[in-house]
């Protein structure tokens, strides 16, 4: 079930390495961006006003994901 990749020195690379060392993987930023875009659309079209708090939760989570990634990127902690 594992699909992790390793470099020649036996160190984990890609998503596995990012997760191991507490970094946000790059693809997660796209998930965050999708949350930011889709949450308000779903709120208006599908979920209705009853679940607007869920939309807010997903929307905020998306921004947190993007924000943490940018902060890690700026501080040199890239995945």
């Amino acid at each position: 079930m594992t699909t992790w990749t390793y470099d020649n020195a036996g160190r984990m690379t890609g998503t596995g390495r990012a997760i191991m060392y507490g970094r946000i993987p790059r693809w997660a930023v796209f998930v965050g961006a999708a949350s930011v875009v889709l949450a308000p659309i779903l709120s208006v079209t599908t979920w209705g006003s009853e679940h607007d708090m869920v939309s807010l939760f997903v929307w905020c989570s998306g921004w947190v994901l993007i924000g943490v990634y940018i902060a890690q990127h700026l501080s040199g902690k890239k995945a």
Binding site: M1, T2, W4, G10, R11, M12, G16, I19, M20, Y21, G22, R23, W47, E50, H51, M53, V54, F57, V58, S61
Partner: protein
């Protein structure tokens, strides 16, 4: 494998009961309790993912539990909030689940820091004092065994070397290397033990240790590290002779 299947089944049943209870509480209007159960459900993600961490020898399988758990927790929270009737029930699920996700994220970051320190201890040019302090941090903050046995063992080798107990580091390495011969941690510990051997005696001792390991565990990661280290040492020696 069978034991894993049984554990999975037991956890799945427990999880189903949890979900049913949470939904019943949310539907019944017990919002705080429903929120609490959502929290418990999210935190239990870690436990539920436990059987998928393999035999604990490989870091790659264990990180699934650490980092996937917050992700699953997020999905559970959103689903619970969507299924809960009304705004108040939804809010209860979001608060409980959100706190659960934060808790899991905290655990992930603590474990990631422990791993970063462990890596740095064995590969970077740290002072003895820094190594011992780092190992103490790892022991204090991750006593719930998020580390594999290989990591703990490798950490001991490195800490012993860092504390100046060079002979002990080499002895510890030789005692513990066998079961972890396929682990990258064993490679790092080998480097540590080789350094320790070269400090206690001559550079030759370190080389002998590397050769011994390469011979004893052929076709393993450990042997690969030993061989490449021997190659580097031999190249350095040739370069010195030429000079």
């Amino acid at each position: 494998m069978l034991a894993d299947a049984k554990v999975c089944a037991a956890l799945a049943v427990m999880y189903a009961v949890f979900v049913a209870t949470m939904l019943a509480l949310l539907y019944g209007g017990h919002l705080e309790i429903g929120g609490g159960f959502t929290f418990a459900l999210v935190v239990a993600c870690r436990l539920f993912l436990w059987p998928f961490q393999g035999n604990g020898q490989r870091v790659s399988t264990r990180i699934v539990k650490e980092a996937i758990a917050p992700l699953c927790g997020m999905l559970i929270t959103v689903l619970a909030a969507l299924l809960a009737p009304g705004r108040e029930s939804s809010a209860g699920a979001l608060i409980g689940g959100g706190l659960g996700v934060l808790f899991l994220t905290f655990l992930w970051l603590v474990e990631a820091r422990a791993r970063t320190l462990l890596e740095a201890m064995t590969s970077e040019n740290w002072s003895d004092e820094q190594r011992v302090t780092a190992y103490k941090w790892i022991s204090d903050w991750t006593p719930h065994l998020p580390k594999t046995e290989a990591e703990i063992w490798a950490g001991h080798v490195s800490a012993l070397e860092g504390a100046g107990r060079y002979q002990d580091a080499v002895k510890r390495f030789l005692r513990g290397a066998g079961p972890h011969r396929h682990s990258p941690q064993a490679g790092k510990a080998l480097m540590s033990a080789a350094r320790a051997a070269s400090v206690t005696g001559e550079e030759k001792d370190g080389q002998q240790l590397l050769q011994q390991i390469a011979d004893r565990y052929p076709n393993t990661w450990l042997a690969h590290v030993a061989a490449s280290k021997l190659e580097t040492t031999s190249e350095n020696a040739k370069a010195d002779q030429q000079r």
